[in-house]
């Protein structure tokens, strides 16, 4: 949109979409907090796999270029996500002995390198070092057509953001990418995206804001923080003697409703602060690029260093600048790589978890969304490792040969122990179902 001279309108749409998302999400928290939280909690590993695959498929669909290249970039992103120490086994993967990579690649140097530095390099190359030509700013207010296109996109983005933000592990980033993919999918003319489609601004901006706010839902309703930011908030609240949880609306209604009102106030203040300053930000575009790009470089570098005071981070950022640039020459796009990176850890963990829990079919952990039979075990401590015979997905097709020397079973009460032999009695009575 900036290239079409609608930069001011784009910023205004972003601000207003954020406002809409903020208000709707606040209402959702106030009205539907606890039920939404239980829905979010019902997501097990299998559901997370579905979600991450959806996100990655969405990234591939949303890409402008060839699908194969997008799939390759997703693969690269997944590979990058595996750098570091494996959570389940402690195995160091792809660290090459470098201490800085022990915890894996940090999100910020990757993004700054891929989008910041690679962009600078691309701009310098394309325009021979003169930089991108600035177009006239245009009016700051979106025209009627843009408004007409934006507000449904903002509502869709809000819905996506509320859902993805409340999920543990979700957040603002995933919400905005998912919203962009959704907009591209439901648009009548997807080729407009990348060329100035206001839906591409309104949807992700709304999802971004909604996703960030929806993180409060599980935190307030259940006391479970869905991401690191909410975990910090719980820590801060605990210091002040407040315990978020299911009873918070009953025990401390003033806190809960005060928080809700503060969210509303914050969103309104956001718009009041944003809109007048848009003119200022847009004027920044007029600065000649030759002066801009060193400044951008400086801020990127200092910012990357300030995260961990780590030289490795900065070198990685430089590396990703090159690594982001070379694929651009080969017509790759950076967005699928980012999605692969963000979702990679979640996908791998949940895949392994799901295969572990349900792969053999003989692990009868009670799960709300799967009906599984109670397991039969060889003893109190042993875990069945009979893979091949049993189907991975359903509890169907059991072999008639059954072991009956069971003492410990997973009981429906989820505590794992079944001293009354409840499950044994039930399964003997009903045969197949447990």
């Amino acid at each position: 949109m900036a290239r079409k001279g609608r930069a001011g309108a784009a910023l205004t749409i972003a601000a207003l979409a954020s406002l809409v998302a903020g208000i709707v999400t606040t209402a959702a928290i106030a009205g539907f907090g606890p039920p939404l939280a239980s829905v979010a909690l019902a997501f097990g590993p299998a559901e997370y796999i579905g979600l991450t695959v959806l996100g990655l498929a969405g990234a591939m669909v949303a890409s402008k270029g060839s699908r194969i290249r997008a799939a390759m970039m997703v693969g690269f992103g997944l590979l990058l996500a595996m750098v570091g120490t494996d959570v389940s086994s402690g195995q160091e993967r792809y660290t090459f002995g470098i201490d800085g990579l022990f915890d894996g690649i940090d999100f910020v140097p990757l993004t700054m390198g891929l989008f910041g530095i690679a962009e600078i390099i691309a701009n310098l190359e394309e325009t021979g070092g003169r930089g991108v030509e600035t177009t006239p700013v245009g009016s700051l207010w979106p025209n009627r057509d843009e408004i007409r296109r934006s507000w449904p996109a903002a509502l869709r983005g809000t819905a996506v953001g509320t859902l993805f933000g409340a999920l543990p592990g979700g957040g603002a980033t995933i919400s905005s990418f998912a919203a962009y993919a959704l907009e591209k999918r439901v648009a009548r003319d997807p080729t407009r995206f990348g060329r100035g489609a206001p839906e591409g601004v309104a949807g992700p901006e709304a999802a971004n804001n909604a996703g960030a706010q929806a993180g409060f839902i599980p935190m307030l309703a259940l006391g479970i923080p869905p991401n690191a930011i909410m975990a910090m908030m719980i820590g801060a609240m605990t210091i002040h003697g407040i315990t978020p949880g299911p009873r918070i609306i009953d025990l401390q209604p003033d806190l809960f409703w005060g928080l809700i009102v503060s969210m509303l106030a914050g969103n309104v203040m956001l718009v009041i602060l944003n809109l007048p300053l848009i003119g200022l930000w847009v004027r920044l575009l007029k600065v000649p690029y030759a002066y801009m790009f060193p400044a951008i470089l400086v801020f990127c570098c200092v910012g990357a260093y300030s995260l961990n005071n780590s030289v490795v981070d900065m070198l990685m950022m430089a590396g990703f600048g090159v690594f982001g640039h070379v694929p651009r020459e080969l017509e790759f796009e950076p967005v699928p790589l980012l999605m692969g990176f963000v979702l990679g850890k979640m996908l791998e963990e949940n895949l392994r978890r799901a295969l572990l829990l349900f792969g053999g079919g003989s692990h009868g952990v009670r799960h709300p969304s799967h009906q599984r039979r109670a397991s039969r075990r060889r003893g109190p401590a042993a875990r069945s490792r009979v893979p091949a015979r049993r189907s991975r997905t359903a509890g169907a097709g059991r072999s008639p040969r059954r072991r009956l020397n069971v003492e410990w079973r997973f009981s429906p009460s989820r505590s794992g122990l079944d001293p009354e032999g409840e499950t044994a009695a039930r399964s003997m009575k009903s045969g197949v179902r447990g």
């Binding site: 194969i68 290249r69 799939a71 390759m72 693969g75 690269f76 997944l78 590979l79 595996m82 389940s88 086994s89 195995q91 993967r93 792809y94 090459f96 470098i98 201490d99 800085g100 530095i117 600078i120 390099i121 310098l124 190359e125 021979g128 070092g129 930089g131 030759a290 002066y291 790009f293 060193p294 470089l297 400086v298 801020f299 570098c301 200092v302 300030s306 005071n309 780590s310 030289v311 900065m314 070198l315 950022m317 430089a318 600048g321 090159v322 070379v326 694929p327 020459e329 080969l330 017509e331 790759f332 895949l351 392994r352 295969l355 572990l356 792969g359 053999g360 490792r385 893979p387 991975r392």
Partner: protein, 185 residues
């Protein structure tokens, strides 16, 4: 894509992209050869990397073969490598110097070198810009936000941030131990 070039035409981007992906996939498989694969119901730490790398290799081969067969796809044209090389060099030098030479000098160096990546390097203006940026960053990040960054070179004893506790009263030209422990890898 210059028609006046003699010799074989440049390979299509599909071929190079396919080769790139295959190379990275194969490269990823090499460290993964030692990692345990586990069983289908209990995947080990090597399972996911191997699957992803095999996928990359497969996709790469597919793309390369497809480009060879159908001969479509744009020709590869490598633009000037100068901006990429210069900017990477400047960021790398900044990274290596920041701990030792301090923020001000590193930023000046970064700006001056990065300026060469542009079409018309203007050294005097860049010097001023660099000084302004360095000063602004030092004030904003170190004094304002209190980030623990070295502002001046190690050998000097200037200190811009009285809140950051570092013993800088003695000029330590040869010290390395106490300073090295501060920056966490």
């Amino acid at each position: 894509m210059t028609e006046s070039q003699t010799g074989p035409p440049a390979p299509s981007t599909d071929l190079v992209a396919g080769g790139f992906s295959t190379l990275i996939g194969a490269g990823g498989l090499w460290p993964a050869r030692d990692w345990p694969l586990g069983s289908p119901t209990d995947p080990g730490s090597g399972a996911f990397p191997v699957v992803v790398c095999l996928g990359l290799v497969g996709l790469g081969i597919w793309l390369a073969v497809r480009s060879l067969i159908s001969r479509r796809g744009t020709r590869l044209s490598i633009g000037g490598l100068r901006p990429a090389a210069v900017i990477t060099l400047s960021v790398t030098l900044f990274a290596l110097l920041l701990d030792r030479a301090g923020l001000i000098l590193s930023i000046l160096l970064l700006v001056l070198i990065a300026d060469r990546a542009g079409a018309r390097p203007r050294a005097p203006t860049m010097l001023v810009l660099g000084a302004v940026l360095a000063g602004a960053c030092a004030l904003l990040f170190v004094r304002g936000l209190g980030l623990p960054m070295r502002v001046w070179p190690r050998a000097t004893s200037f200190s811009i941030s009285p809140w950051v506790s570092r013993s800088r009263s003695l000029p330590k030209i040869f010290s390395s131990a106490s300073e090295g422990s501060r920056s966490a890898p």
